[in-house]
């Protein structure tokens, strides 16, 4: 227990120490690189902005991710159960995923002018559903036929087979993908907030730091983003423990 919390905590302290030392030894001015000791000032000065904007970034990421889960799972199920659909959709999906999302941002921004929340959620969603769809489709399509036959030979419906076997068996892959997707969704949200500034979210706060040459603020935003990212990631890890903990190898 001590190990679980103390070790990462010490690692963070070491990281901050090295960062501070680097800035100090090289005598970097703030506009090259701010040091950790500049951050508390930035946080205390703008704490209310951090709370408001942090919340905006957080909820838009989570909504985008939830959409990605719903859509990704549905798409994964379609591709997992039907070979034809898999052959048809896979190239499309890969092509879509290959498009750098930074180029999509202005398109979406123009498509729904002024609908900032919608735009941001949309980008977070578009950037993050791919790994979910792929993992669910692979999980379902690689289900050994015997698993299906065990229930089918008893007269079980497709829905029963899905709930009792296909779904739980796919959960470990799903959570693996969700861990990737949560980070991607977060990147998507920030991309929209920075590239298409509309004064909301931590991305916008970062942008205002840039225009005002407030370098400690920019770094403070980065750290806040990292913190939010860590929180989101570990929420997924906790969910994984609850729903797919059985897949973890027992240390023997």
């Amino acid at each position: 227990m001590v190990r679980k919390f103390a070790v990462p905590f010490i690692a963070v302290l070491v990281f901050l120490g090295v960062w501070e030392a680097l800035v100090w030894i090289n005598e970097w001015p703030n506009f090259v690189m701010a040091s950790p000791s500049d951050l508390p000032a930035a946080y205390s000065k703008y704490w209310n902005l951090f709370l408001i904007m942090g919340w905006q970034t957080l909820w838009r990421t989570v909504v985008g991710l939830l959409l990605a889960v719903v859509f990704g799972v549905a798409l994964g199920m379609i591709m997992g159960f039907s070979r034809t659909m898999r052959d048809a959709l896979y190239p499309l999906l890969v092509g879509f995923n290959a498009i750098p999302k930074a180029t999509v941002v202005p398109i979406v921004a123009l498509l729904f002018v002024g609908a900032h929340d919608l735009n941001t959620v949309l980008i977070a969603f578009m950037i993050s559903f791919f790994p979910i769809a792929v993992s669910v489709s692979i999980g379902l399509s690689t289900l050994e036929p015997e698993y299906r036959d065990i229930l089918r030979s008893l007269g079980a419906s497709q829905a029963t087979i899905f709930w009792k076997i296909a779904l739980p068996k796919t959960l470990p892959e799903f959570f693996g993908a969700l861990k990737v997707a949560v980070t991607l969704a977060f990147i998507g949200t920030n991309l929209m907030e920075i590239v298409s500034p509309h004064g909301r979210g931590l991305g916008a706060l970062f942008d205002s730091g840039k225009t005002n040459a407030d370098y400690p603020l920019m770094f403070a935003v980065l750290i806040a983003l990292a913190f939010l990212g860590i929180v989101l990631y570990y929420v997924v890890v906790a969910l994984e423990k609850v729903f797919a903990g059985w897949a973890e190898r027992q240390p023997t």
């Binding site: 050994e144 036959d149 065990i150 030979s153 008893l154 007269g155 068996k169 797919a244 059985w246």
Partner: protein, 267 residues
Amino acid sequence: MTTDALIDIKGVTHAYQTAEGPLPVLDNLNVSVNEGGFAAVVGPSGCGKSTLTRLIAGLMKPDTGEVWLHGARVKSPRSTVGMAFQNPVLLEWRSILKNVMLPLEIVPTKLTNTQKEDRARELLSLVGLEGFEDKRPSELSGGMRQRASLCRSLVHKPEVLILDEPFGALDAFTREDLWQTMHALRAEEPFTGVLITHDLRESIFLADQVLVLSGRPATTQYVMDIPTDAPRTLDDLYTPEAAERLNVLRHQIEIAQGRASDEGEAA
């Protein structure tokens, strides 16, 4: 129309539709197994044995011919069938007990939850898995997993038990242990069985009828009846009679594989 055969397969012909055109797998196959009987099916690999089990289970319909179970034509899966495969396909997120109870969640039953659990426990202790009820499948050896899989195939008291090479992946000693377990199960549980196997000793030790299928497309090439007068022991496999039976079967397999002519056929 009634016969005393519980499993009656009449003139079944089946072909798979593949990209290279139809692949004939079964050709006018006839099999009948009496109630309480236990038939072993041997044949060259890829000849259509698993296809036969899927037809009996109602997982597929034959192109032509009929499959009858207990006087009813099989057109779709029915809950009076139990299946076990070479892969024990246990669900890793369930305990052994819950794995065995799975069919009772699917088939219509009047049992209460306690009765379901008792039934599963009873079977598990019959196959020597008492004390392992709460373990996860990954904590058990291959042989133990296969025992649990057998329990699951029998828990809902099926009329017909279909075993598709269930012991194929086990080492020789574990396999012989499981043969004995099969005899113990047959003594306690009433079922009519079909066992697919590629082990001729297994077929004559467990079954009272051995069917040799020809190469693909498979048809019944040879049938050997094995009298079931006394309880069998492993020693029975080393008698001159057993050696003679194995010889005949081996020869039939060679014919099925196209490696020998059927001049000496004794059927």
